[in-house]
């Protein structure tokens, strides 16, 4: 049984450490500070913790003002509120002036579960990838979360980090090193490449394992940075494996799948398939039930890989 850990709790722990290391780190909250795990920072550094209440537009623009004065603000609330309610402030207030604001949003994706569609952030990657100054990072587990949050504190520029509510499996090796803008090869293979981020990286590894047993060898790329995407790794994967499947817990447009498609179609067209939430809204339910119902399991990835491998073969034998 794989060990598990909460990405948002790990974020909260790292934030407290960063507060100790760097006096310029400040935190801006919009209520929900307990759920997003920033409350411990507030307890330890009350003078650097600013709760703005349930008012996200103000929260984000306050962070912009802090950043313009040399502070490094971490802003946290649920992903639906951080991106949906404050998009204009992220666009005009943070992205256009390129201010050093870190948005760490929790409770993203379908796995927010029982709270239903208003709480399920399945559009946030599309929104955040639309903003030219932002880096967009979707960590695969708590280890990567810790490294991504540290990187955010050390890198100048706006960054969006997407975390989820449930605990998730620790899937990355202990010596894993997150690099902003770089994909990590988690498994080698010659028949196809699965490019995944967030909780779908775990499913991708499982799918690759099933497929290997059936004689289909997959490369698995953990594409934690969705923007700016690692085009080189995508092109290499297309050239060396000839088929690509992307997997994300998000709608198919504007996130990982469409970003990878843009690179593939312009550089190295190969058969591709996108594993993503079918276009539309989901419903309340347990996270695992929702992942199954909306086709985000290892079995769904496996099916897509078989499909692209078949299309690749058909293309090769076409006269």
């Amino acid at each position: 049984m794989t060990a598990t850990a909460s990405t948002r709790e790990r974020y909260g722990e790292v934030l407290v450490q960063l507060g100790e290391e760097n006096p310029d780190i400040v935190v801006v909250g919009g209520d929900l500070n307990i759920s997003v795990c920033t409350a411990p920072f507030g307890k330890k550094y009350p003078d650097r913790f600013f709760d703005m209440g349930a008012a996200e537009q103000n929260m984000v623009a306050v962070a912009a003002g802090l950043a313009s004065s040399g502070k490094i603000p971490f802003v946290s609330t649920f992903a639906v509120f951080a991106t949906g309610r404050a998009f204009d402030q992220l666009r005009v207030g943070v992205s256009q002036p390129n201010l050093n604001v870190k948005v760490v949003a929790t409770h993203a994706g379908l796995v927010t579960g029982e709270d239903g569609i208003s709480a399920q952030s399945i559009e946030d990657l599309s929104l955040m990838c639309a903003l030219p100054s932002f880096s967009v990072v979707v960590p695969a587990d708590a280890l990567e979360t810790e490294q991504a949050v540290r990187t955010a504190a050390q890198t100048t520029g706006p960054m969006y980090i997407r975390l989820c509510r449930p605990v998730t499996e620790l899937i990355l090796p202990e010596d894993y090193k997150f690099q902003l803008g770089k994909a990590a090869v988690l498994r080698e293979g010659k028949d196809a490449t699965i490019i995944a981020c967030g909780i779908m990286t775990s499913a991708a590894l499982k799918a690759a394992e099933f497929l290997a047993a059936a004689g289909v060898q997959c490369r698995v790329l953990n594409m934690a940075t969705v923007r700016p995407v690692d085009s080189e790794a995508i092109i290499r994967a297309a050239n060396e494996t000839g088929a690509i499947v992307t997997a994300e817990e998000h709608l198919p447009h504007g996130g990982l799948g469409s970003t990878v498609s843009t690179v593939v179609v312009q550089n190295c067209p190969v058969p591709m398939s996108l594993v993503a939430i079918p276009d539309g809204y989901a419903q309340s339910g347990k996270p695992d039930q929702l992942l199954e119902r909306y086709h985000l399991t290892a079995a769904d990835i496996e099916k897509s890989v078989r499909d692209v491998v078949r299309r690749k073969g058909a293309a090769a034998t076409r006269p």
Binding site: A55, A61, S68
Partner: protein, 288 residues
Amino acid sequence: MSALESSSPHVGKQARVSPLSVDELRDKSKVLRQHIVTMTSAANSGHPGGSLSAIDVMAALYFRVMRHDPLNPRWEDRDRFILSKGHCCPALYAVLAEAGYFPVEELMTFRKIDSLLQGHAHIRTPGVEMSSGSLGQGLSFGIGVALAARLNGGTHKIYVMMGDGECDEGEVWEAAMAAAHHKLGNIVAIVDRNGIQNDRPTDLAMELEPLADKWRSFRWNVEHVDGHDMEAVVKTLERVRSMAGPTVVIAKTVKGKGVSFMENNPAFHGKAANAEELEIALKEISQA
């Protein structure tokens, strides 16, 4: 490389601005008004109405009340002026040019390709503190700047210029609540109460009154001033520097002030004078 991407800031030859007398400020306002109508006319677009209503208060701030240094725009202890109603950047560009942040000739490039002076204020222009153009964000941004100042032990003031129509935006009231909650005594909001927004009079578009009561109920100090009476403007701005808690100055102004055909005329919210109108406008301003 365009001017906007230039890494070396355009700075003029003047050193720190020495405070002007009330009479000198009145003369300065005339020059600033002429810049506003001229640059918008040259651009054949822009927002003269709200620039002309706010300019006397901005003249008092930049040439008397605020501590700032055009040769060192990022000087840490400077007072901050945040233009929340970003469409009125012609007023901001006029004061920045006159103060020496960049040459006055730059004003004629306003809104043109590769200009330092974008259609709405942008942080890359020397002296501009915040990118704006979407209403309602300046007070929040100012709170962030004020919180940082308090953390750093800074004694500077943060002035936020807002429009009255801008007070329709919900974020203004989120920010108003937050400034009082966080007990910020280093922030001064100014509402340019010219009574007209994009389409029509503010009170037809969205009833704002009782505006002062709204701010008071959000636990702000409220000051009223005739925004074109230079002596009163200076006195009020100097008095509020030492007030405890957040303070809002509601400046009663006239949209398009100083140009007869622009005054109280919603048409000149977002329209520039043509060549013929410009000639009349410049004459009226100089003879006022």
